[in-house]
Each structure stands twice: as structure tokens, then as C-alpha cells.
Symmetry: C2
Subunit: 158 residues, 2 copies
DNA sequence: GATAATGATTATGGTCAATAACTATATTGT
DNA sequence: ACAATATAGTTATTGACCATAATCATTATC
């Protein structure tokens, strides 16, 4: 069963043959992700949020006093790329930066009331569009998908 | 002992709380994808291939005579962005462009022998790194994951 | 035969992530 | 105590990537 010119477990909707890509998890994952991402981006844009700024706002809301390095680590992004995002959230009054007295290199980040409210509202709307996209899965499939993704992500080895 | 009074169904490895992001499929999917993508990119780079050029080479190999518009459609990318990729594959002697006589606007694309061999070799190596990353899943989980991703992708509705 | 549509191309701009270099504070070793 | 080192945040820069519009040649349409 390993090799064959016709792989019956993936029929292409179009007439295009594909003996390789469709069997790669990375390829399938990206294409599935691309069903969700533009939708999320669209609804977040209605609140002038990008995915990354929503993510930051969300983590800050859940972790008052978190500093930028920790936030970068949590979101797996570079500290340097965080700066402009944090700047913008602060300028919009969604979060506040305050120097921590015991270590004046660091900024403690907290979400303002407005920030927390926006986070909650945006989260709801993102959740809604995800539900729409993923409506073709029943609750069990969905739960299993989440669990499997979580396990993949958890294998922090290399 | 980390304190997650909140949501018992997602344990954070670090001490960072998260009541929202971790429950979003898009977020989880991106993070799982990021476990695979850099690895695939790395092994493809050893053959001077990028993910996109490998994808093109693969589809062309499986569909001799395909034209650029069809390829762009199959890979869900813009025709204009295909051009340089095709150019490079052609310059490297991995594929050939030939005008189709019945419609001289179009180029029929075919993989050369070298191209087909490279495709097969690269596919094997990508498969290997995917197997390594995804080794924490048994065959059934993996099959189910693929099936679910395929269904998500298939919902070509708006 | 004029006009519109199509396939490939070129040029361009915007977003994004990665890197290096810099500043200021803090920590460590002797 | 102080020199060397490390860390937090910042800035600037770069290259990759993706989308858009304009162009050219060819084909299809009325």
C-alpha cells in the first residue's frame, strides 16, 4: 500500500492529480488554516485589530503585569516585533505600560478596562467565525482536532 | 503546582494564563503548523527548493502539460507570483515550458527527468521530517487528523 | 473586423518576521 | 567595588511573501 499512482484516499475535486502534496500534513494544515485565518482577520479588522494585536491584548488581559519578554515567549515571536504592537495598543488606551520598580528595564503590561472589554468582544466574534467555518465538524471531531493540535504543539523537542 | 482554576481542558506548559487563544482553532492550528513548516523548509533548502517551488514541481510532475493558470488555481496562489518560481525551475532544468500549438498564449509545463527525480527525493525527505514531528500521534490519530483537515479545506463555501 | 476576454508577464506596494546593533539597567565574579 | 557579562526593551534594516494593477500577445465574441 505504500506506493501507487492512484491514491484512493484523496480524490481531487478539480481534475488536477496529486500524489504527494495532499498526503503531507503540513500542506493540508496550511490549507485548512487558510480557511480560518482570513475570516478571523476580517472580523478583527472591524475593531482595528490585527491577529497579532488581538493575541497580545488577550494574553495581557489574562496575565496582568506580564512583561514584554514573557509575552514574546508566550506568543513565540521576537521581542523586537512586539514593540510596535505594544505601542499601538498603548496609544489606543487598551493597555498600560508601567515600569516595574524592582527592575527598571522591564515594563509591566496590563489591559485597561476598555482593553479587556474589546478583547472579550473580539474573542466572541472570532469564535463565531470559527464556528461557522468549522461547522462541518461535529463536537467530537472538533474536540479531537483540538486535542491533536495541542499534542503536536506540545512536542517541544528538536 | 501551576494554578489553572479556569479551563481544565488546556494546560499551559509555562506559567502564562490563557483563557481565549488556546481555545481558538486558528491559533492552535497555526502553532501546530509552525512545528512542521520550519522543518520542511530546512530539508527542502538542502535541495535549493522552497516550499512553494517544491509544491509547483510536485504538481507539475503529477500533471504533465498543466498550464500556469491551472497550477496557480491548484495551489491557490496568484498567477503573477508563479512566474518567478516557474522561471527558476526552468532555469535549473527541472521543468520545461513549451507553447501549446492550439493556444499560443499558454505554456504547457512538464517536469524533466531530473525534476521528477528531485521531486521524489525531496518528497521522501519532507515525509521523513513530518513523520518525526508527528511521531507522537499513532496511525489512527494521524489518519483522522488528515481526514478532518481535508474536510475543513473542502468547505469551499462563503 | 472591432471589442472583449484570457494567459502570461512586469512592476509595485504592503505586511510580516528575522537579525543585528544600540541603550539602559541588572547580575556576576573576583 | 568594579569590570565583565547578561538581560529588557528599542530601533533600523532586510528579505520573504502576497496581492494588485497595468501591459502584451493571443484568442474568443458579436
Amino acid at each position: 500500500m505504500p506506493k501507487s499512482e492512484e491514491n484512493p484516499d484523496h480524490r481531487e475535486a478539480s481534475g488536477v492529480e496529486d500524489t504527494v502534496l495532499g498526503n503531507l500534513i503540513g500542506y493540508r494544515m496550511k490549507r485548512a488554516y487558510m480557511q480560518i485565518q482570513p475570516e478571523a482577520q476580517r472580523v478583527l479588522a472591524e475593531d482595528d485589530l490585527r491577529v497579532v494585536s488581538f493575541s497580545c491584548l488577550s494574553i495581557i488581559t489574562d496575565n496582568p503585569g506580564i512583561v514584554q519578554s514573557e509575552l514574546a515567549e508566550a506568543l513565540q515571536m521576537e521581542r523586537s516585533n512586539l514593540v510596535v504592537v505594544i505601542d499601538e495598543l498603548e496609544d489606543r488606551g487598551l493597555i498600560a505600560r508601567k515600569k516595574v520598580p524592582t527592575d527598571r528595564r522591564r515594563y509591566a503590561l496590563t489591559a485597561t478596562l476598555r482593553g479587556r472589554r474589546l478583547r472579550d468582544r473580539a474573542a466572541l466574534r472570532v469564535r463565531q467565525v470559527e464556528d461557522a467555518v468549522v461547522g462541518c465538524l461535529d463536537a467530537e471531531d472538533r474536540a479531537r482536532l483540538m486535542a491533536v493540535l495541542e499534542r503536536l504543539e506540545a512536542r517541544r523537542a528538536r
